[in-house]
Symmetry: C2
């Protein structure tokens, strides 16, 4: 499904170059459940953005479903992103002027789903993350963990086959966090692929494989007891 070879990512700021990823190689099969861990600033979000086709590497190759992402046109990339991938951003990335229902519907608007169907799917997704009572609140009218859950609802509304979640429980108490993990568990049991970044060991325990990133490189890549 996913094959990365020698992926590097550099950011330039004035004269300075930050080597956020320095030669990452990994492959992930369909229906794996992978946790990515590592210190703050080690390159996890940079890796997730490249996995999710939201950013391109400075060097290296990335094949998705057997096709080289670097050879895809913008339209093909957008189609992969909208149809196959659900992305939960670390900073939520919600539209501040729209209420949570409209934020959740967003991926379906890109896919041309009818208004009535969009509404139904978005309401179901909001209820699944426990926010049925907060559908008409704007992001500034929600708590931190509620905003995070809108970001999760939006990522799952188009029934993606690959879920990429960057620190999905960072603002959630353990009970609410476990409810979100149950959602990922169900998606995984249905044959989908789940890749999440976390710093919380009890979250990583749900995965069947843990990749540790250190200073822009893969430090270890091991199966867990769940494998």
């Amino acid at each position: 499904l996913i094959q990365m070879t020698n992926i590097a990512k550099n950011y330039e700021i004035g004269e300075e170059v930050v080597h956020a990823l320095r030669g990452v190689s990994l492959s992930i099969e369909k229906n794996e459940y992978v946790a990515i861990m590592g210190p703050s600033g080690s390159g996890k979000s940079t890796l997730m953005n490249i996995l999710g086709c939201l950013d391109s590497p400075s060097e290296g190759t990335y094949d998705l479903n057997g096709k080289a992402v670097s050879d895809m046109t913008d339209d093909e990339l957008a189609e992969v992103r909208n149809k196959e991938i659900g992305f939960v951003f670390q900073n939520f990335n919600l539209l501040s002027r729209s209420d949570s229902l409209h934020n959740t519907e967003l991926p379906l608007i890109y896919l041309g789903v009818s208004r009535k169907k969009r509404r139904e799917l978005a309401i179901a997704s909001m209820q699944a993350v426990g926010l049925g009572e907060r559908m008409h609140h704007k992001p500034s009218e929600l708590s931190g963990g509620q905003r995070q859950r809108v970001a999760i609802a939006r990522a799952l509304v188009n029934n993606p086959s690959i879920i990429l979640a960057d620190e999905p429980t960072g603002n959630l108490d353990s009970k609410t966090g476990e409810e979100i993990m149950q959602i990922f568990e169900v998606l995984h049991s249905k044959g989908n692929t789940v890749i999440l970044v976390t710093h919380e060991p009890y979250i990583a325990e749900h995965a069947n494989r843990v990749i540790h990133i250190l200073d822009g490189q893969v430090d270890s890549d091991k199966a867990t007891e769940n494998a």
Copy 2:
């Protein structure tokens, strides 16, 4: 130091009223170390914003240093906020167009500290949170956990006597999180008061008292083994 009696906070959205806090009474002495926990959406940040004089309650009284906050003028409130309180926001609240050094200096600009002294104090604060190499990065050029640490550096730069930190480690791996907790530990040992919101039990263990909030009310308020 802090005395709250029957604090209520309501938010109105159209016809709907959200009772975010429904009668919270608590008192906190100087040099206590308090952890506030509770489910997502239970009212913790709302309580912290009122404690930090960033928002006023709908009902109830709040006395700070023996003075009623509701009787303070805007200038008096600004002085308390800038001189005595360091506030770490759950969503960081950084200026997106300024680099991290300038963001950290901000409280000192309000206090009229000289440019040279501001620079020195802000550099020391950035180094204390491990971001000496990221001083000229803007927030969008930082990782999630690095942005969080800039928010912490900014809150501590004016040497506040009351530290209010809302989920200060939500985006940090446990090692970096422990480094931040060491900073709070040192501040506490110097006689300052630390009040933090967290959902991580290993963070709450640093405190000598844990207040559980449930549905806008105090559910329990107990000393920990550290007390």
